[in-house]
């Protein structure tokens, strides 16, 4: 069960990171911006490139992040599905079926989720502890690369690449260990 949950984790990382606006290339500055991030809503399009399929599968919908620990991913197409990470409860609703997992019962998964939270709350030490980070590009077009250090996570996801411009994440890509990859494009919805 734990391993099954860990499979979900890379997706969570990309989701959480994608909702954060990066202020600058300077990583200390990035962390400060992260800590001050007010959360928000965004439209997303997620393309999964799978070796077994001739074309990528595409899903789209909306995401909502309320710091520090509420994340909602509402997929509208091709099939409605809602995934919510609220504090330490992960729930998934699809086809009238609802699956709720209490992550606190799975300390290994929880530790990982906590590390993401630390990251989002500006805890750079935690991020560095869990990932090898490199930042490149210009302020107009920057790329942040995360390489997981935990071998259990690395066995699933090889690399997470986050691209953005100024304070806004534009896309998140993660490359799985089996060569399949997933690209998430993000378009923030301005709350007036």
């Amino acid at each position: 069960m734990t391993r099954n949950l860990l499979l979900l984790v890379p997706g969570l990382v990309s989701l959480l990171v994608s909702l954060c606006a990066f202020g600058a290339l300077e990583s200390d500055q990035v962390m400060a911006e992260l800590a001050a991030h007010p959360g928000g809503r965004a439209r997303f399009v997620e393309k999964r490139y799978l070796a077994v399929l001739d074309k990528p599968v595409v899903a789209s919908g909306e995401m909502l992040y309320r710091p520090p620990d509420y994340l909602e991913k509402r997929t509208l197409t091709p099939r409605p599905e809602t995934m919510v990470l609220d504090h330490d409860t992960l729930s998934l609703e699809r086809d009238k079926r609802k699956l709720t997992i209490n992550l606190s019962r799975q300390p290994e998964a929880m530790a990982f989720i906590d590390s993401i939270r630390d990251t989002l709350s500006g805890n750079r030490q935690a991020l560095i502890k869990n990932y090898a980070i490199s930042l490149s590009g210009t302020i107009d077009k920057w790329v942040l690369t995360l390489l997981p250090r935990d071998p259990q996570i690395a066995a699933l996801v090889l690399k997470i690449t986050i691209g953005g411009s100024h304070g806004q994440v534009r896309n998140v890509e993660y490359l799985q260990a089996d060569g399949d990859r997933s690209v998430l494009s993000i378009d923030p919805i301005e709350d007036k």
Binding site: M1, V52, L53, D54, T75, P78, M83, P107
Partner: protein, 789 residues
């Protein structure tokens, strides 16, 4: 002389025959003592579960000490070693391997297991819809779980099978193995091969677990030693320890407790009584003769139980120490009274009183024979046979064997002072009347909370053991299935079909959210009929290939990749059905837990789960939904409470009947309402005083205390009768009564020391009760004359 020899020989032959019966008796310490002899259908399910259910074969293990990593290694090694042993059906510790095994098994048989498999599913349209659905699933976070199987299972039968799983909560996982909530212990669950009711087998299995653990722990500490010198922190770690809990362990421990108690209590009671007798008789010969009726009675008790019930419960034998104290009385009466008056006078003057006392005692014990609580019925028969035989041996065997040579030491100062002492007691009349009234008032105010309303009061499981068990259950997130739907049929196939039929009814309740969900053995083991229907829904390879080609149009999946799918379907279409024997590990455990097989046939249990935020199940609705299907809805907790309630209710009736019998006997012999009343009053006062006293001391009163109250009247009446029938009570008679009372109090008093609640309750009630009966009879039974003039 010849007559003496003949009687002795007859007695000896009877004893030898009895000894032979006892030697061939089956002794048992299992739960049957407490389980109803004539169960209702609901109780039968409860009994089967307790004796043969999977839960009865589960043992929970927890490994503490060292550090988390070492515990995980121990857990893993313990699993490997125990799993290789045929004494265990399954060993689970949360390691991934065991889950993968289950998934692979489900994957291999998915076309027989998936409820979505119908002929329509393999038409062009059906395939297209199913494949589209699977591809959609890939865009979901959980799709990643099924991605590796897409080319084998493009129609998504594995998700369908897994969807039917009742998502139970899982224990926590640390370092890859199950752990307690606080992370301080590694947790495992094993299922023994032998039944829970096989105490020997359970003892063997537990010994195996302990031995394997000791072996692993010894290896670990041997390996850790070199590190320990380098790293002082390692030395500070506490040593590895193992704790076990579960029904099997309780059975083994309870047997050990009963075994030691039987030996300990009988020895204690015998020693104390022999000491008392020695002081009274001062003659080894008389002492040996005096124990003759006791030994005969104790033997007769076991023989009677063995012949009538087939099995003798350990607790019944444990009751022997009380029987010794009671049965020895008759010989005391005989020696003390006949020793001074001669046999002829004794027979004429005292024997009728003693005979009536035996009859009233027999009334009390005899009432228990009609109990539906097998343990109680056995205790009743054991004691009844015991005292009747002891009395008969005293009357018919003892006099010829003892002859006229019964010389007791001359009465001492104490014996001479007894009449005055007993007369002096009468001054306590008023205080006892006041005390009894107060006790009655107290009992009346406490009447609502007097009885402990739970069968667990009778269990030998200690508070510490029960706390450990609850903690381990909580750590493993297992809960007792409280609600069940039960169907029965003559064979396995029929019961699986019945379970499937019931499943359809329950599906409707799940759909309308009236229940949260249910489990069924047919999830992993559908009936052969259902499996055949699913198998025949699979099209031949050529048809499937053609349909698949057409169905894949417009999807991102190409037919060239789906050869594994075509192969798997063909294998399933031409392969055999899934049999119980193919299931392993957790799946086998799950199916066996829901399927019971006994002499009456097969039973399937379908546990129900309340919907979220639902306190209790809508029982009436469920019963209505199941009406006419032959299925039974059972609330296990209710059955348990009902069982105890029935026992208590019945014990109340039996006590009343026993009391009624005693009153009829007294009325028949005493022929005076006033005399019967006068004899009964001190006994009822004793009952009231003892009950109030026990309750004040914080004793949890249960049905064995109630039985104890009946026995106070049954045994205490012996003393009341002496005071009533014997117009002249001299020092000797009072001495015999005092000594007889003392031995009875010793016999039941040792029972009160027992840690077996059944024995303790009877002892703690009867010992003070009989003492009070003697004293209160001396105070309240009116006498025409007093001796010592």
């Amino acid at each position: 002389m010849r007559q003496r020899a003949r009687i002795f020989l007859l007695w000896l032959v009877a004893m030898l025959a009895g000894g032979w019966v006892v030697w061939h008796s089956r002794f048992s310490t299992d739960l049957s003592f407490f389980l109803p002899a004539n169960p209702s259908p609901g109780q039968q399910v409860l009994i089967d579960q307790l004796k043969e259910g999977t839960a009865s074969r589960l043992l929970m293990l927890s490994v503490a000490g060292a550090d988390a990593k070492q515990r995980a290694i121990v857990s893993s090694q313990l699993r490997a070693r125990l799993a290789a042993n045929p004494a265990f059906v399954s060993v689970q510790n949360g390691e991934h391997g065991s889950l993968d095994e289950a998934r692979d098994l489900l994957l291999a048989h998915r076309y027989l297991l998936s409820p979505a498999v119908t002929p329509e599913r393999f038409t062009v349209n059906g395939l297209h819809a199913a494949i589209e659905n699977s591809i959609d699933l890939l865009s979901s976070p959980i799709g990643i779980l099924f991605k590796p199987f897409l080319t084998r299972d493009p129609t998504g039968e594995l998700p369908e099978v897994l969807n039917t799983l009742d998502a139970g909560s899982q224990p926590e996982t640390r370092n890859g193995v199950w752990s307690s909530h606080d992370g301080e212990r590694a947790m495992l669950v094993v299922q023994t091969t032998v039944l829970g009711s096989n105490t020997d087998g359970q003892e063997h299995a537990i010994a195996l677990i302990r031995a394997e653990f000791a072996h692993i722990a010894a290896n670990m500490s041997a390996q850790a030693r070199p590190d320990a010198t380098a790293d002082t922190a390692t030395q500070a770690l506490s040593p590895l320890s193992l704790q076990i809990s579960g029904p099997g362990l309780f059975a083994v421990e309870s047997r050990a407790t009963i075994k030691t108690e039987v030996a300990r209590l009988s020895t204690l009671s015998t020693l104390a009584i022999v000491t008392v007798l020695f002081f009274v008789y001062r003659s080894p010969r008389l002492m040996a003769l005096g124990l003759l009726p006791v030994a005969s009675g104790a033997l007769a008790g076991i023989v009677a139980v063995s012949l009538v019930f087939g099995t003798v419960f350990g607790i019944t034998v444990g009751f022997g120490s009380a029987l010794i104290g009671e049965a020895v009385d008759y010989a005391i009466y005989y020696f003390v009274q006949a020793g001074r008056l001669g046999i002829a006078t004794w027979r004429q003057r005292f024997w009728p009183t003693i005979r009536l006392g035996v009859a009233t005692s027999a009334c009390g014990f005899g009432a228990l024979l009609f109990s539906g609580f097998p343990g109680l019925a056995q205790l009743g028969l054991y004691a009844l046979a015991g005292i009747v035989v002891a009395a008969l041996v005293t009357r018919h065997v003892l006099p010829p064997l003892a002859g006229d040579d019964i010389r007791l030491p001359p009465p001492g100062k104490l014996v001479s002072a007894l009449p005055d002492l007993y007369r002096g007691l009468r001054r306590l009349r008023m205080p006892f009347i006041v005390l009894s009234l107060l006790a009655s008032a107290y009992l009346f105010t406490q009447r609502e909370s007097l009885w402990y309303p739970d069968l667990s009061a009778l269990s030998t499981i200690s508070k510490a053991e029960s706390d450990l068990d609850s903690r381990m259950r909580a750590d493993l997130s297992t809960s007792d299935a409280r609600y069940m739907v039960v169907v029965s049929a003559p064979d396995r196939e029929a019961v699986l079909r019945a379970a499937e039929k019931v499943g359809h009814h329950l599906d409707a309740l799940v759909e309308s959210n009236r229940i949260g969900g249910y489990d069924s053995p047919t999830r992993f083991l559908p009936s052969a009929a259902t499996q055949e229907a699913r198998r025949s829904a699979l099209p031949p390879a050529e048809t499937l290939r053609a349909n698949l080609h057409a169905a894949l149009a417009g999807t991102p999946l190409s037919a060239a990749r789906l050869q594994p799918f075509l192969d798997d379907v063909e294998t399933a279409r031409t392969g055999p059905l899934l049999m119980r024997e193919q299931l392993t590990g957790g799946l086998a455990l799950a199916v066996d837990g829901m399927l019971l097989h006994n002499a009456q046939g097969w039973t399937a249990l379908l546990p129900l789960r309340p919907a979220a935020e639902q306190a209790a199940l809508p029982q009436a609705e469920i019963r209505q939904a199941l009406a006419g299907s032959g299925a039974l809805f059972i609330d296990m907790k209710h059955e348990f409470d009902q069982l105890y309630g029935d026992y208590l209710h019945e014990a109340l009736w039996l006590s009343m009947a026993g009391l009624g019998g005693i009153i009829v006997l007294l009325a028949f012999t005493q022929r005076s309402v006033r005399r019967v009343g006068a004899s009964l009053l001190p006994l009822l006062m004793s009952v009231v005083l003892v009950t109030a006293g026990l309750h004040l001391c914080g004793e949890r009163l249960h049905l064995l205390h109630l039985i104890g109250m009946l026995l106070i009247v049954a045994i205490g009446s012996n003393y009341a009768l002496f005071f009533d029938e014997q117009k002249i009570l001299d020092g000797d008679t009072l001495q015999s009564m005092s000594v007889a009372n003392l031995t009875t109090v010793i016999g039941f008093g040792t029972l009160a020391l027992s840690s077996v609640p059944v024995l303790h309750a009877v002892g703690a009630t009867v010992a003070p009760g009989t003492l009070l009966s003697l004293l209160l009879s001396a105070i309240f039974v009116p006498r025409n004359h007093d001796a010592a003039h």
